[in-house]
Symmetry: C2
Subunit: 342 residues, 2 copies
């Protein structure tokens, strides 16, 4: 499916006439032969031409404003992405307006309406945890409106994305725990509808498999909200259940990891002596808690920079169309602190 729509230029090129001839033919202006009008209209129909798309892509007055839709501004990772976005935007004479969805689909939809009403030149998006259907983005792409997705890549075709290597990050974290002698490792997993959660889960499982360790389904602990309270409850419940207890935890986010550490300490476990813990993201607090938390650092600033560079290229390229998926994958870095070194 080619989401990009034909423009007046495409029709003109195909028929070897001028753009203004096409434009006037489509509007049934006088001075154009009936034969030309018929050819233009037939081809327009065939190429799925929509005036709307052209209006957008040929719009002359740029607003020099980029819109950013983000789940939560307080999330340390997203705030570093915003800084990267602003750095490139301001350097190129663009302003940035942000909308926070608070992980709610309804707010995502109304944020897009607000942004478009405000005549932004392009959109940078990380969609909400509630978003499972992406037609509100496909519609914009069908009009050739410039969108770059970051961190969370939607399951539709021909998108432009910047993401981090979540699989490798999770693999590295789990492998590190194994190399430190923690061999029964549980995973505090993120929300199922996010690709990043699936990739972190895959990385965790691949590392276990590659090192000859069994995957225990009871130790895959869904922690969809990723809050401290949720993760504390999960650890306490697992403990109360009795039986084998993990000696390592890899959490798909730092707050869940910090919650796990609090619960483990409360239960009397020594970290890192008896249990090792690794998080994901490298929030500011990781180096401030006791013991300092090992984590997978994501290149948030770089992600913001790269996504904005791609978006500005799309804005500048009047001939743009969404004809293939383009994904830039940035590498993570494992930061080893005391929480996982025996």
């Amino acid at each position: 499916m080619k989401l990009g729509q034909a423009t007046i230029k495409d029709i003109a090129r195909e028929l070897n006439v001028s753009s203004s001839t096409v434009s006037r033919a489509l509007k049934d202006y006088p001075g154009i032969s009936d034969e030309t009008k018929r050819k233009v209209k037939e081809l327009a129909e065939k190429l799925n031409y929509r005036p709307n798309a052209v209006a957008l892509s040929l719009r002359k007055s740029k607003s020099f404003t980029l819109g950013v839709i983000i789940p939560e501004v307080v999330h340390f990772f997203f705030s570093t992405v915003i800084s990267g976005i602003e750095e490139v935007a301001y350097a190129n004479g663009y302003n940035v307006i942000l909308c926070q969805t608070n992980e709610k689909l309804q707010r995502e939809l109304s944020s897009i309406d607000t942004m478009l009403a405000n005549q932004i030149d392009g959109l940078l998006v990380s969609y909400s945890k509630e978003t499972e259907e992406f037609s509100h983005f496909s519609k914009l792409m069908a009009q050739n409106f410039p969108i770059v997705f970051f961190d969370r890549v939607p399951e539709i075709e021909n998108t432009v994305n910047v993401t981090v290597n979540d699989f490798q990050g999770a693999y590295d974290a789990t492998k590190h725990l194994i190399s430190q002698g923690y061999t029964s490792i549980a995973h505090l997993a993120g929300p199922k509808n996010l690709t990043i959660s699936k990739k972190r889960m895959d990385g965790y499982q691949a590392a276990l498999r590659d090192h000859g360790l069994e995957i225990n389904p009871d130790w895959i602990l869904p922690c969809p909200m990723g809050t401290q309270e949720e993760s504390m409850k999960i650890i306490e419940k697992l403990y109360e259940k009795g039986g084998d207890f993990p000696n390592g935890f890899f959490a798909s986010n730092d707050i869940a990891a910090a919650g796990a550490m609090m619960a483990l300490k409360k239960l009397g476990y020594k970290i890192p002596k008896q249990v090792g813990v690794v998080g994901f993201s490298n929030w500011q607090f990781c180096s401030m808690i006791d013991p300092p938390l090992s984590t997978v650092a994501q290149p948030g600033f770089k992600m913001g920079e790269k996504a904005t560079q791609l978006l500005l290229e799309m804005i500048d390229n009047k001939e743009r169309s969404y004809d293939s998926t383009k994904t830039v994958v940035l590498e993570t870095e494992l930061l080893i602190r005391k929480s996982s070194v025996k």
Copy 2:
């Protein structure tokens, strides 16, 4: 100085004629007597009437979008304010767009331009640390454009503000340290140009005075950036200087307090046994660090709610004018954790 401008309605009321008569008289339309035209124009002159202000205040097509200008989205306090703003805005059918100034005046100026170009109905502002002159706000107020300032109140007349009782918060924190037996208390102070820094400093000094303790100018430690690194260096430098060393620290923000704790621990001090520490804001990490940090909690969510309620009232009130300063002061709450209890 009355910043609010007269509207057509004001002139009509004063002269006991209809608004449309005033409007036509100002535009020199036929059908209005020369006498009436003269009276209208004289009064318009006298009342400092500007068509622009009227155009803005009588604008019929509302965008139902509120603009928020904020120094840093990653700051936990500001993120809770944003949540409060969004709660009230969405409940009333408004969307919210944010601009982050990153504490830079230049970005504040361009953010205001962007917001206005986007036809917001009103503005919520917490200005940057660099902002020492406020004409970019006075100009908007002179056109009767709805603005509410939160947290940081500018030094201009007739503003509408929501702030927290920073003096009392700082007083309570310092008094608490004294009551726990810490009697030589230093202050890690915020940037000088912010009223909140001055008020926290005043509260600290008043508590010392009221309890018969001397104010030691060497222990008023400027920490304008408020980062962990800055505060660590300040503590290390104070220690290297030799002589008396404080046994209590009240920091004007939590990150500086956390940095102080790290430096103190590194120097071998036991917290809270030998030194007590209290911060300001109640960032999420306060309960996660070791020992958990006592702090002054600011009602961020409530501040966002209140500021938005005031802004919506201004937007709905077509007769609004800036004729007096109106400041809502919200109370803080001292949260006592282990870092300050012997």
